[in-house]
Symmetry: C2
Subunit: 200 residues, 2 copies
């Protein structure tokens, strides 16, 4: 199915163009016209792939989240096998933080995405599904760690999952230079140390 | 100085109009024209008070943050005196969460504000100052609680401050209905219980 592949590749190259526009000029300036210019296609061609700005953003975010998943998988494979659940959570959390060169654009797009989602039911559903999937994955990890004795059995796995997810609150602090990357990593380590502390 | 007062009142009433537009239609639709209409003034009059959308947003956020400070002060006065530092932190944290009727608009404006700030140096400076002030206030609270023996003396006050600030990561989870308000409060209580746990 070469046509299918082309279609997907073209969408990915448009997502990259959107990324560059958002990184350089911000989401507010990322019009369909501007992205078409950056991607080297006509506005009509762009509209053939994406019928709206919101749809383009939704695809770009899905693509970014696939790439994050791939980075997480790669980092997980480099851990001792089987990996300690603390190391797994640390990889997941550090991959969520804007510590990489491409992460500034991703952060900005994510902020735009959450903002648009508050008023766009289909974006809202997409982002909700993604967040619930991520939440379920972390809760499974925490429950397994509890059953293996790595986390105290009197912890509430639901509350602990929400607290791990809440650490994404470090993202805007990093983006706005309120804290340094080293401080964010130290905060994550402190939280994980406490979560994985032996029963006293 | 009645003219000064009028000027300030008019700016506040415009901020309220912006709030309503953002709550009903989202930030993307909150143009100067739309806000002028909602505030019942002409576009020219609006431009007399705010020269740009970004300036209007900056004022609305400053005003929202003043109102939050007032709510925090009111809640703090209702605590036993002198209040326990755990209760003080709980008040500050719960006031940051979108648990009130007016909080949906504030959350949306805040998301818009962070997004604009990533590209607007003066907004970036304003939001950075606000966050650093908030951070300093929480760090002072934590250092005092440590010196009074409420928090273990082997804690790192900087890391603990960043972890408390990171709990703002619960805000988008609440806004997007990924978690319920009760779950967010339970997460805050669990974090504070652990922070204020006696030395083992």
């Amino acid at each position: 199915m070469p046509k299918q592949v082309d279609h997907h590749e073209r969408r990915e190259s448009i997502a990259h163009a959107l990324w560059r526009v958002v990184d350089q000029h911000g989401w507010a300036r990322a019009t369909m016209r501007e992205v078409a210019r950056e991607a080297g296609v006509s506005l009509g061609q762009l509209q053939h792939y994406f019928s709206s700005r919101a749809e383009m953003l939704a695809f770009a975010m899905e693509f970014a989240s696939e790439q994050t998943s791939r980075r997480v998988s790669r980092s997980l494979r480099s851990l001792d096998q089987p990996p300690h659940p603390r190391d797994v959570l640390r990889v997941v959390l550090t991959e969520m933080l804007p510590l990489r060169p491409d992460s500034r654009a991703t952060s900005r797009m994510n902020a735009a995405y959450v903002l648009e989602a508050m008023h766009d039911p289909s974006l809202r559903q997409q982002i909700g599904l993604g967040l619930r999937d991520g939440r379920a994955m972390i809760e499974t990890l925490i429950r397994e760690a509890m059953s293996q004795g790595h986390i105290r059995s009197d912890c509430d796995p639901i509350i602990e999952t929400d607290l791990v997810l809440a650490l994404t609150g470090l993202v805007p602090l990093l983006d706005l230079d309120v804290i340094e990357p080293q401080a964010a990593l130290a905060a994550i380590d402190q939280h994980l140390d406490r979560l994985f502390a032996p029963a006293s």
